[in-house]
């Protein structure tokens, strides 16, 4: 691109100050909005991909409730678990008081010291023996629970038993035991006496994000054997390819144990995840639609203006052609002109986009716009501008040199 092209282009633009200003303004507002929407889309999509720490492909969750009081809840739970484990393809089954992305949540404040006012808020998972194995949580230090550590929920409620141990996530370990090994350390989770940390798992997502992004990695698991009437969930781990097959059989298996119960839901974990993030997906889709439409409107605006300018400059273009300018020169002229307009708009748009993000951060708790999204908006608008101007510019190259000699 020759620098000398810039001079005539700039002087031509100076003669159309109002139209130039408008197109630059349009590009800048579009750029500002699109950089923000692209970021919001990415933000939502990254949430959807948020890792749970579970063996998701192998998991099935069943929600169950009884009718009236069930005095034999523990015995019934044991029968249920036996029936579930008997289904071909099932590897582990356990009760769980909640599941990641399941929304309903048990939380508590945890700390290595008692009655700590600065204790951190953590999700508190518990369930019957084999819960960790059923989850498929990845142990990175220490050990899993031993059968002897499990205490009955009813006994804990009546303060007749105390859960002796706890397994924590890496997030909790790094926050509360930074720099030392957490294994063997006391942690106040449940009751007046502490639990001993026996293991650390890589990750266990919380059932919801009510506690905020900063606390997202905080979860603990307690060895409290809880009947289905309190837990509400059976978590079943299958051989991965057989999850669907197992899912089809769980209702019948549970009904055979006791028919007077209501199965509120049975889902593969993929469905639990999909359900939880459906609004994020919907918003991402909507914002994608809006961004594309905005770019299209801006492109049409550029087409309209460029067409008008081509029409208006028919004579000059003819003269330039007659004086020896090639078709390529004419094409280049319009492309460079558009590049100048787009660049000016983009520079303004980046400032505006950043300002919009600051306002969104303040008003809607949207995170800070990473600098990389401004170039994304810029690249999109350069591209759209060049494509939009191509049509009118190509039409300009078709103007024959003879136009110059004709009177208008």
């Amino acid at each position: 691109m020759y620098p000398m092209h810039f001079v005539p282009i700039l002087s031509a633009l100076r003669r159309h100050r109002a139209a130039t200003a408008l197109i630059v303004l349009e590009i800048s507002v579009t750029c500002a909005i699109v950089s923000n929407t692209v970021f919001l889309i990415q933000d939502r999509l990254s949430r959807i991909d948020h890792a749970s720490g579970l063996a998701e492909d192998e998991l099935v969750r069943v929600q169950l409730t009884g009718i009236g009081e069930k005095p034999q809840a523990s015995a019934l739970t044991a029968q249920d678990l036996a029936a579930l484990r008997a289904i071909p393809g099932v590897r582990y089954a356990a009760t769980a008081n909640m599941v990641p992305f399941g929304n309903s949540s048990w939380n508590t404040d945890i700390s290595p010291i008692p009655r700590d006012p600065d204790a951190i808020n953590s999700a508190m998972y518990f369930g019957s023996q084999g819960l960790l194995e059923a989850m498929g949580a990845q142990l990175i230090a220490g050990r899993s629970f031993t059968p002897g550590e499990f205490v009955a929920y009813a006994d804990v409620q009546a303060e007749k038993a105390h859960p002796p141990s706890v397994i924590i996530t890496r997030g909790v370990a790094e926050r509360l035991f930074a720099g030392k090994t957490p294994i063997g350390q006391p942690l106040y989770v449940w009751g007046k006496e502490p639990q001993t940390v026996v293991g650390v798992i890589e990750r266990l997502a919380r059932p919801n994000e009510a506690a905020g992004r900063a606390s997202a990695a905080y979860a603990v698991v307690l060895p409290i054997d809880v009947p289905y009437t309190v837990a509400g969930n059976y978590l079943i781990r299958t051989d991965a390819p057989r999850a669907v097959e197992v899912l089809a059989q769980v209702s019948a298996a549970l009904k055979r144990v006791d028919a007077s119960r209501i199965i509120l839901g049975r889902q593969s974990f993929a469905e639990v995840r999909k359900d939880y993030f459906k609004q994020d997906r919907a918003l991402a889709l909507l914002l994608t639609g809006v961004s594309i439409s905005l770019l299209v409107v801006t492109a049409l605006g550029i087409v309209g203006l460029a067409s008008f300018w081509v029409q208006q400059r028919t004579r000059q273009i003819g003269v330039r052609r007659a004086l020896g300018a090639t078709r390529g020169d004419i094409l280049l002229y319009f492309q460079v002109e558009n590049f100048i307009l787009a660049t000016t708009g983009i520079v303004m748009g980046m400032v505006l986009g950043y300002a919009i993000n600051l306002w969104l951060m303040h008003t809607y708790q949207v995170p800070r716009l990473p600098a990389m999204f401004l170039p994304v908006g810029a690249a999109l608008l350069w591209l759209v501008g060049q494509i939009a101007v191509l049509g009118p510019a190509l039409r300009a190259t078709m103007i024959p040199p003879a136009t110059a000699s004709r009177t208008s």
């Binding site: 109002a18 349009e26 507002v29 929407t37 007077s260 309209g304 029409q311």
Partner: protein, 432 residues
């Protein structure tokens, strides 16, 4: 004159079909997007109890321990069972009601229907008149039923249909968690949106199907739902003396007691409780009417407000686009304008003519925009949100669409029309 200008506008718009279409589409798109999100926003921030929302108040007290107290903090959002029952007994208002959300398994008597779980509300008899619940048959249970923990219930029309295939089922019984409850009334179709009286059990959801006295629900140990906060570990957090907040308490004021009176009553109640050592903190009460409560809880999803802002950003871009296109169009017609000026047309009349042309584009854009808004709302209704089915275009929004479209296009036309009428007659005649 207006008709003549309209005719000129029509001719001019017909001449440049592509450009005209472009402008109409741009306006339509901006208006369509704004009206879609605005309709959703309006639906979600609508007054759930028109005419009464300033007379119905939500009560908050602060029964927590002294530990961790800082003056000026917000009290808990719900009441303890002990306080709710005490306030209910005290009355001191036109109407009072306490409640919690819950659910219960229902065993249908009709063959062929499996037992199912229904969303329920455990409340007191004045709930129904206070919130204007319409009855299709029968009515509320009596105040006496609350005191006796009577085995009674009010059910929704949908539940009556499902269980009995009929609406007038007053006097029949419904099996709730194994206990038969006598039906005293069937509600007509009723959905408060937002579900303001308990925002812990869904904000825009369809509401409950089963209502029974709170006292009955406790005797039968029926499941409660929603949020519960406790500041001490207790074996039974639902017991009367438990240090747990989980009850919503509403009062209707205005006739026998004013809001200021009731607020003073709450303060003196807190002082009394402080006096006997139950409350450790100084009196800290809140009394918010429905509108204030909804504003305080920020019920309108922030995603919806974000979408509204984005769509207005889109409208701005579309308007700038239209300004640019109108400007090029009007300047392109400088020769024609020059001739009209030379023949005696005033600047004013040129300006009017060009603005009318812009307005005509706005009108057309409004029609197309309406179609787009209708399409947009159809998309919204197919979204997986609990307010999806509420998003409907009504008459006021329909009119707003046209007003917005015409206003937007006139706004967009102002500058181009002003530039257009600056054309000097002599210069244009000379060059052409």
């Amino acid at each position: 004159m207006f008709a003549y200008y309209l005719d000129l506008a029509r001719r001019s718009l017909a001449r440049d079909r592509a450009l005209t279409a472009l402008m109409i589409v741009a306006i339509a798109f901006g208006v369509g997007a704004s009206m879609t999100t605005l309709t959703v926003l309006r639906t979600l921030s609508a007054d759930p109890l028109p005419g009464k929302s300033h007379h119905v108040f939500y009560v908050q007290l602060d029964p927590r321990k002294a530990k961790g107290y800082t003056p000026g903090t917000e009290p808990p959002e719900q009441l303890t069972r002990a306080d709710a029952e005490a306030l209910l007994r005290a009355g001191h208002a036109d109407r009072t009601t306490m409640m919690t959300g819950g659910n219960a398994a229902i065993e249908p008597a009709r063959a062929g229907i499996e037992p199912f779980l229904a969303d329920a509300r455990w409340t007191t008899s004045e709930f129904f008149p206070m919130f204007g619940a319409p009855f299709a048959a029968g009515g509320s249970w009596a105040a006496d039923d609350d005191a006796r923990a009577a085995r009674v219930a009010v059910i929704s029309r949908a539940l009556a249909d499902k269980l009995f295939g009929a609406v007038d089922v007053v006097g029949k019984t419904i099996r709730v968690e194994g206990t038969p409850l006598r039906i005293t009334g069937v509600l007509d179709d009723w959905r408060l949106s937002p579900h303001f009286y308990d925002l812990n059990t869904g904000v825009y959801g369809p509401g409950e199907q089963l209502f029974a006295p709170f006292s009955t629900s406790r005797e039968l140990k029926l499941a409660r739902g929603g949020t519960m906060d406790c500041w001490d570990e207790v074996p039974d957090p639902e017991a009367v003396g438990a240090p747990c907040t989980w009850i919503q308490f509403w009062v209707e004021l205005g006739t026998t007691t004013t809001a200021a009176d009731y607020q003073a009553f709450l303060t003196s109640y807190s002082q009394d409780q402080h006096g006997v050592g139950r409350f450790e903190r100084p009196p800290n009460v809140r009394l918010r009417d429905i509108r204030d409560w909804l504003a305080f809880k920020e019920v309108v999803p922030s995603d919806v407000r974000l979408q509204t802002w984005i769509s207005f950003g889109v409208l701005v871009v579309c308007l700038i686009n239209t300004v640019g296109l109108l400007l090029t169009k009007f300047l392109h017609r400088a020769p024609e304008i020059g001739v009209r000026r030379a023949l005696g047309a005033s600047r004013r009349s040129i300006f009017a003519q060009l603005l009318i042309e812009a307005g005509a584009i706005g009108l057309a854009g409004g029609v197309v925009g309406l179609v787009l808004a209708w399409l947009g709302l159809w998309v919204v209704r197919n979204q997986p949100t609990d307010y999806a089915d509420l998003a409907q275009l009504d008459l006021p929004m329909l009119l707003t669409t046209f007003v917005l479209a015409i206003f937007a296009s006139l706004l967009a036309g102002l500058f181009p029309a002003w530039r257009g009428c600056q054309v000097s007659p002599a210069l244009q005649l000379k060059v052409s």
